[in-house]
Amino acid sequence: MPLLEIKNLQLEFGTVDRPHRVVDGVSLKLEAGKTLCLVGESGSGKSVTALSIAKLLPSPPVRYVGGEILLEGRDVLKMPPGELQKIRGGVVSYVFQEPGASLNPVFRIGAQIKESLTYHRPEKANDAEVIRLLKLVGIPAPEMRLKNYPHEMSGGMQQRVMIAMALASQPKLLVADEPTTALDVTIQAQIIELLQSLCEQLGMAVLLITHNLGIVGDIADDLAVMYAGQIVEVGPVRDVLKNPLHPYTQALIHSVPKLGRDVTRLTTIPGTVPNLGSIPSGCRFHPRCPKAQPPCSTEPPELMTLANSRQVRCPLWDSPNLNQPANGSL
């Protein structure tokens, strides 16, 4: 049984008359101890999907229209509030994008980590355990640091504190929503390295949400690409990055500037991510797709399962890659 299984999840915002379906039929599977990356542009629904795993989005405004979120085999969407509270932190913990905004500015970081321990492991709610956690996330001189307020730390250190806090409850799944977007590249490399080593040490599963394709290859086992509320491609990370099948994945990979490559123009994706109020008919990517054929604008494609556990939502997946720049592959 997988640790997390999302089946055909459907979420809506807006009024009942004019619903905005932000997540439309998303299915994902994550085994214990594995790392899954969810990639997509802003507005693709990746954060909303991640937040719904612990049912963190209040309803209303959001409506859970359909689907199941099975965490250790139990459906989160049908749990009573008391049980949900145990899942939050106990099974799944979160690390968010802006550590500065997630930490409480008026409490010392030691106290904030201890608060998490009091809820989940009251017998361990002491300074020694806080120091152990701070050491685990690589904060130097933890005995001194636990008396710091968040503003006395740099962004990278704050993010380490957030991770320590998430680990305090010993979760089986860590959901990291753009954990490095607000950080410098050097610090980003440190945090990704830290997540990777924690994953190995603690046997924890990680769901990493990012729009940075560069960090995906370093950390993930599997990769899922989202576009306008749907999964368009899933597969083992190496295969997807090496041989992307969906035109959107291909375009996304090729629009990233690469070091040491002599190209005069970057490949772009024309247009912008569609507004959720006006999702295109047929394939949602067809107005921006270089391969689009007449049927693409009318027939919504299904997510097809291919060999070696890959899935792609495009009937033209085996036609040549038009986004490939003339001078070679990655």
């Binding site: 050097t186 490399a189 440190q190 390295e193 394709l213 995906v216 290859g217 990979i253 500037p257």
Partner: protein, 321 residues
């Protein structure tokens, strides 16, 4: 002749310490920087947050006053001009900001926002000419002229950044300082904006000072790159050669930290321990020595000077005599 010459520029901000604000200390945001930009050239400026790159970009066009040094724009020192004189010179140098959400006035339509720049420098004789010029500018940056009567909130991030670019272009500048113009955008949109900036450079002969922390983007758009650490330049060179064979240990670790999409790339990561030190009390000697994997004895005491290595590279490091 160079369009812009910066000579030993320093920007220090006072911070008050102690009881009743006695005992002044200074943040050494920019600490003795010298460089040139030729007409039509793109100079990339990279470094971690807190290294002073944004302050340097702003000081170059006098949005923050400089403490010391000369800023020669077309041979004239703009750091000593009166406010009125400086305002008239601003037509020649403009800025594009990082956050397209906060750098546009939400109460002005696109026409008013771009038209304001034309009015200040008296570039449009009447309303019809103003409108015509705004329409042309919107077309140049890839927007529809019919969008001129809309407000900023009706646009996406990428479109807003295009409006910011049109506003900077309106006064026909020779130099545009781009402060992280794409870091708030999605990759696909980022590529569109970078291509647009390149096209505009070719069409109008613009020079850019391109400030960013993403080395892959900077390498792509720049002719030359400056690497900055704690207010100083640590390495300067032609962009391709600098990225292919970085010399300064800081440049090397910065390059090795850039994420790469290719899962097969075999790179050895040089992890930088810790964070950028405080610019109030910069470390003695080489400012990079506490984090440098190759630091030796004299790095702690002697400040390394920028030295030329080969034809087109300068580096400030004791490892390169």
């Amino acid at each position: 002749m160079n369009l812009l010459e910066i000579q030993n520029l320093k920007v220090h901000f006072p911070v008050r310490k102690g009881l009743l604000g006695r005992g002044k200390e200074f943040v050494h945001a920019v600490d003795g920087v010298t460089f040139n930009i030729a007409p039509g050239e793109t100079l990339g400026l990279v470094g971690e947050s807190g290294c002073g790159k944004t302050t340097l970009g702003r000081a170059v066009i006098q949005l923050v006053p400089s403490t010391h040094g000369r800023i020669l724009f077309n041979g004239e020192d703009i750091s000593r001009l009166s406010a009125t004189d400086l305002r008239s010179r601003r037509q020649r140098f403009q800025m594009i900001f990082q956050d397209p959400y906060s750098s546009l006035n939400p109460r002005l339509t696109v026409l008013e926002c771009i038209g304001e720049a034309l009015d200040i420098h008296r570039l449009a004789p009447d309303r019809a000419a103003r409108r015509e010029r705004v329409d042309k500018l919107l077309k140049d940056v890839g927007l529809d002229p019919s969008h001129a009567d809309r407000y900023p909130h009706e646009f996406s991030g990428g479109q807003r950044q295009r409006i910011g670019i049109a506003r900077a272009l309106a006064v026909q500048p020779q130099l545009i300082v781009c402060d992280e113009p794409v870091s708030a955008l999605d990759v696909s949109v980022q590529a569109q904006i970078i291509n647009l900036l390149k096209d505009l450079q070719d069409a109008h002969g613009l020079a850019y000072l391109f400030v960013a922390h993403d080395l892959a983007v900077v390498e792509h758009i720049s002719h030359r790159i400056l690497v900055m650490y704690l207010g100083r330049i640590v390495e300067e060179g032609e962009s391709k050669s600098l990225c292919r064979s970085p010399l300064h240990p800081y440049t090397r670790s910065l390059l090795s930290a850039v994420p790469v999409v290719d899962p097969d790339s075999k790179r050895s990561r040089i992890f930088l321990a810790g964070d950028v030190p405080s610019p109030i009390h910069p470390p003695s000697g080489c400012p990079f020595h506490p984090r440098c994997p190759m630091a030796e004895g004299r790095c702690k005491t002697e400040v390394p000077q920028l030295k030329s290595i080969g034809s087109d590279r300068t580096v400030a490091c004791h490892l390169f005599p």
